[in-house]
Structure formats: structure tokens, C-alpha cells
């Protein structure tokens, strides 16, 4: 098993950990971090893809994808943080409010 495969496996593992954290934690900052961890996992998988079959020079296409992905993740994180701050200002807590009784699930 090549190193690339282990990196890819690690990436998949990060993705799963991140997903679990997203679902399990209540605090918004943790959820945002979880998303970032998921993203990192995906980027790791992509990086691992770049060195497939023992070619001499890594494939630049997945690297380009990673960079794009990072940019998107930065923007998304910024948006998420702003929303978290606004929600905290409104409700006093950085958690998603539970459903009100009158809003049927």
C-alpha cells in the first residue's frame, strides 16, 4: 500500500470525524470547526490523488482543485462566523435555537 493510499484513508477519516462532530456538537463554533475539518479531509484526499501510480511529478489538477476549495472554505467560514456572531448577539448563546412549539417539525 502506497503512502498516497494512507493519506487518502486519513482524509476519509478526517471527513468522517468532521461529519460526526458537525452532528454531535451543539456549540456553533465547534460546528464551524467541524466543517473545516471535513474540508481538510477532502483536500487531503485530493492531495493523495495527485500522486497516483507513482508518477514522477504530481498531477497539478487536484492541487488546483484544493486551492479553489480552500478559497471557498475561507469564504464559507467567514460567513459562518459572522452569522454565529449575529445569532449570539440576538439570542445570547452560540447554539442553534431549538424548535418552537408552534413550528411543527
Amino acid at each position: 500500500m502506497s503512502a498516497a493510499f494512507f493519506y487518502a484513508l486519513a482524509g476519509a477519516g478526517l471527513f468522517s470525524i468532521g461529519l460526526h462532530a458537525l452532528l454531535a456538537h451543539r456549540h456553533l463554533l465547534r460546528k464551524i470547526l467541524a466543517i473545516n475539518v471535513m474540508g481538510s479531509g477532502v483536500f487531503l484526499v485530493l492531495a493523495a490523488m495527485a500522486t497516483r501510480n507513482g508518477i514522477a511529478i504530481p498531477d497539478p489538477v487536484p492541487h488546483a482543485m484544493i486551492i479553489t476549495g480552500i478559497v471557498v472554505a475561507v469564504a464559507a467560514t467567514a460567513l459562518a462566523l459572522v452569522l454565529m456572531l449575529k445569532l449570539t448577539a440576538e439570542t445570547g448563546q452560540a447554539v442553534l435555537p431549538g424548535r418552537k412549539k408552534e413550528d411543527n417539525p
Binding site: 482543485m65 452569522l83 445569532l87 442553534l96
Partner: protein
């Protein structure tokens, strides 16, 4: 002279968005002109496709597999039309809806959303789809949070998490496909696709991600809070266009890449989820006491219809496309009309609608017409879609799917007339009415009329859909 209409569709709103951000004073005029320009560009593109067949353009002259390509065929055209029409209606509506402060934030993000939508429907490779999907998602989340209230913010945050998870799952799938087959260009991939484990994993991941973004039952949990608490023009766009974008991608992937090897099992699963969506969404809509939540659950139900097309395969894709367009028009009209009712009475409790048929006739009529299309009653686009879908189901002996479709229609009638029935009666307590600007009423009414008129233009629409044979397996 061959005008690159497709390129204009992306560049115009992008540039306008930047200008609107820098010069807020001209933003409103800019938006209205831009939405008109988009509509004209779509018309131009339609003519171009009609005369010359599919449109292919490599940005910067860089061809696949490295370059970003633009591709337009009949299916893209239908979705672009939906974007243009709903875009116009919502732009006009929003010009009267938002206060000056909110409007400064709304216009630039709205234009970016339009640019992202157009780019998505014109994309030819998987990674570009990811980028545009993310752009669209972020813009949509920002718009949802615009009103700043607790519900809107909570809804927006939930939406953001859902959309980001979905995109990341999708991206992981793209990575796997690239690893297995060496390309992200859809046409190339279609040629190289084989049912290796990587492909199955990609199918699972990408479908899960896209289903989450399309809010198919049971992954719909984020939709009602987000759509109901967003400002009305935003709700309209979210229900009409944004969730259709992820559906569009799923449809393309299925037809071109996964459909041939995924087999009946996955199709049946999608059909089953669609059925559950129709029943669950309609029942939940019936239980609501608040108008916007009712309309949001109606969206959950209507999305289910689109997925009934998967078990029916080739015979039903036309129906799905027609349903996408008619639902976009009808649902946006319905949300805009609901927004008017909310603005008028200061509340959106269904039981207290208090004779709005008499006091807000245009909006009530818009709601009714939109409801006619959603119910699938003639003459409307919804009826045409329902007819085509029923025809496909009966021709293949799928009685279960036919029964679900018909039941869905009756349930839709139940919740639409729940609202209309109360619109005739007097409420126990009358509230001081706030005047609704004429622009807002007419925007809702015209969109609703387009949904009805679609019922008469099915033949040209179906011929346009044929361009490039999007359902024949060829595509970007």
C-alpha cells in the same frame, strides 16, 4: 454575428453585482436593467440553440480536460429560462419590498446569486459545478439571513451547514471520479465510466450531497425554517431556483454518468424517497397554521414529484423538466403572494386571513393561480408535467407511482384550498391593513400567469428540450 449569449449570462450579473456593491445608489436601476438583459440574453440563446444546435464554448480558449467549458443544450435552456423569469419577477418585487438599508445589502448578493445560477446551468465539468454550487449556496445563505431576526439567522445557519456538508460530500465524489477516470469533464467521463468501486462510492457521496441540497425527504429538515423565515423574495428564489440547481446536477450526473450502471435499485430508492416526500410534505403542509411554513412544506412535497421520474427513466425526463419550470414559476408566485399577505395584515396566520380575496384581490388571485399549477389542474404548466409523468407511469405499468401522483395532487388541493377558503371568510379579529405596493402584487400575479401560460406552450418547450438530446445520454 454570433453573440456569445451564454457568456453574457454570467458576466453581466457578475459585473453588475460588483458595481452595485460599490455604488449602492444605482443598484436598483442596475438590477432591473440586468434582469431584463438576462431575459433577453436567454431569448437570444434560445434562438441560437434553435438554429445552430448545442452551444459549446471554452473559456480563454482552453479546451477540456484542463479548461473551463460552457455548454448549453435544451435542458440548460429550460433552467436558464426559469432563472430569467423568476429573476425578473423577484427583482421587481424586491425593488418595492426592501427598505433602503436592507436593499443595499440585497442587490449585490442577489446579482451574484443570479450569476452563480447561470454559471451552474452552463457548466460542462464537475469541478466547475462544485464552484458554482458553492457560490450559489453562500449567496443564498447570506440572503436568507438578511432580515436579521432570530428565526432568519437560525434558519440561515442550519442552511449553511447543510449546504456546506453537501458540497463537501460532492467534492469528495469528484475527487474519487478524477482518481478513477482521470477527468472531470462530463463528456469525457461519460465515455470512460465503468462500475468500479470508486464510481459507486462517488455515486453515493455525490447523490447524498446533492439530495441534501435539494431537500429530498428525509434530508429536508433545513428547508422549512430557512424558506419560511427568509424575506419573501428570498424564499421565492430559494424554493424556485436554488434547490432546482442541485437537482439539475443530479439529473445530469444520473443521465450521463451513473444511470447506465446504477440500475433499478438506486432508481427505486430515489422513487421511494420521492413518494415519501410527497406524502410527508403534503401532510405537514396541511398541519401548518402559518402561511409561509405551509408554502415551504409544499416545496418539500413538490420536490418529491421530480424524483418520481427516476424509476421511470427515459420516458419521464421531459416531465421532470416541465415540472421544474412550472414549479419554479408557481412557487415563486406563491411565496411572493404570501409575502404580500404578510405585509398586508402584519401576520401570516392562515385562519386570520380575513377576506383578503376582497381586500387584496390581485395577490389572492396570484396565490390561486399558483395553486392551480401546483395541484396539476388544467390549464397550467403543472398539469402538463403531471400528464406527462402519469403517461410515463401508466405506460410502464407503474400503478404505485401513478397513485402517488394523484394522491399528491389531491393533498396539494387540500392545503391550497385551506388557504383560499379562509381568504373568503371574515376573521375574528381584523388587523389594521398596511398598503401593499402595486409592483409587489403585479410581480406575483405575472409569475402566476406565466405558470398558467406554460400550460399552453408545452409543444414549443418540448421541442426546445430536444436540442442537444440531453436525455439521450449525450451532454456536456
Amino acid at each position: 454575428m454570433d453573440i456569445p449569449w451564454a457568456v453574457m449570462l454570467i458576466v453581466l450579473p457578475l459585473a453588475a453585482g460588483l458595481m452595485a456593491f460599490v455604488w449602492p445608489r444605482v443598484a436598483q436601476t442596475l438590477v432591473l436593467c440586468c434582469s431584463l438583459a438576462i431575459a433577453l440574453a436567454v431569448a437570444g440563446l434560445a434562438l441560437q440553440l434553435w438554429h445552430h444546435g448545442v452551444f459549446h464554448h471554452a473559456l480563454g480558449g482552453w479546451e477540456a480536460p484542463l479548461g473551463i467549458g460552457l455548454y448549453a443544450d435544451g435542458l440548460s435552456l429550460v433552467l436558464l429560462t426559469a432563472t430569467a423569469l423568476v429573476g425578473m419577477g423577484v427583482s421587481v418585487y424586491a425593488s418595492a419590498y426592501f427598505t433602503l438599508d436592507d436593499a443595499h445589502h440585497f442587490w449585490p448578493i442577489w446579482l451574484f446569486l443570479l450569476a452563480a445560477l447561470n454559471a451552474l446551468f452552463l457548466s460542462a465539468d464537475l469541478f466547475n459545478l462544485y464552484v458554482t454550487l458553492e457560490l450559489m449556496g453562500l449567496a443564498a445563505v447570506a440572503l436568507t439571513a438578511l432580515s436579521g431576526g432570530r428565526d432568519a439567522l437560525a434558519g440561515a445557519v442550519r442552511y449553511l451547514f447543510a449546504t456546506l456538508s453537501g458540497s463537501l460530500a460532492y467534492l469528495l465524489g469528484v475527487a474519487l471520479l478524477y482518481h478513477a477516470f482521470g477527468s472531470v469533464d462530463m463528456a469525457t467521463l461519460a465515455g470512460r465510466m465503468t462500475p468500479v468501486p470508486a464510481a459507486w462510492a462517488a455515486l453515493g457521496l455525490m447523490s447524498a450531497g446533492l439530495l441534501l441540497k435539494t431537500a429530498l425527504f428525509p434530508l429536508h429538515f433545513w428547508l422549512p425554517p430557512a424558506h419560511a423565515s427568509a424575506p419573501s423574495p428570498v424564499s421565492a428564489v430559494l424554493s424556485a431556483l436554488v434547490i432546482k440547481a442541485s437537482f439539475y446536477i443530479l439529473l445530469r450526473l444520473w443521465i450521463m454518468l451513473f444511470g447506465p450502471f446504477a440500475g433499478d435499485g438506486v432508481a427505486a430508492l430515489l422513487g421511494g424517497m420521492g413518494t415519501a416526500a410527497i406524502v410527508w410534505g403534503s401532510v405537514q403542509a396541511l398541519r401548518q397554521t402559518r402561511l409561509k411554513l405551509l408554502v415551504a412544506y409544499s416545496t418539500v412535497a413538490q420536490i418529491g414529484y421530480l424524483f418520481l421520474a427516476f424509476p421511470l427513466a427515459a420516458a419521464a425526463w421531459n416531465a421532470a423538466a416541465v415540472l421544474v419550470l412550472s414549479h419554479a414559476l408557481a412557487k415563486s408566485a406563491m411565496f411572493l403572494a404570501a409575502g404580500n399577505l404578510l405585509h398586508f395584515g402584519g401576520h401570516d396566520r392562515i385562519a386570520d386571513l380575513d377576506r383578503v380575496v376582497q381586500r387584496l384581490p390581485l395577490s389572492a388571485f396570484a396565490f390561486a393561480l399558483a395553486g392551480v399549477s401546483l395541484m396539476g389542474l388544467p390549464p397550467s404548466g403543472g398539469f402538463i408535467g403531471k400528464w406527462l409523468l402519469l403517461e410515463a407511469a401508466l405506460a410502464q405499468g407503474r400503478w404505485d407511482l401513478a397513485a402517488v401522483m394523484l394522491l399528491g395532487g389531491l393533498l396539494a388541493a387540500a392545503y391550497v384550498f385551506k388557504v383560499l377558503g379562509h381568504a373568503f371568510t371574515q376573521a375574528a379579529v381584523t388587523h389594521e391593513p398596511t398598503a401593499v405596493p402595486a409592483r409587489m402584487e403585479w410581480a406575483a400575479l405575472l409569475l402566476a400567469c406565466s405558470a398558467i401560460l406554460l400550460g399552453f406552450t408545452a409543444t414549443p418547450l418540448l421541442s426546445l428540450l430536444e436540442i442537444g438530446a440531453p436525455f439521450g445520454g449525450s451532454g456536456p
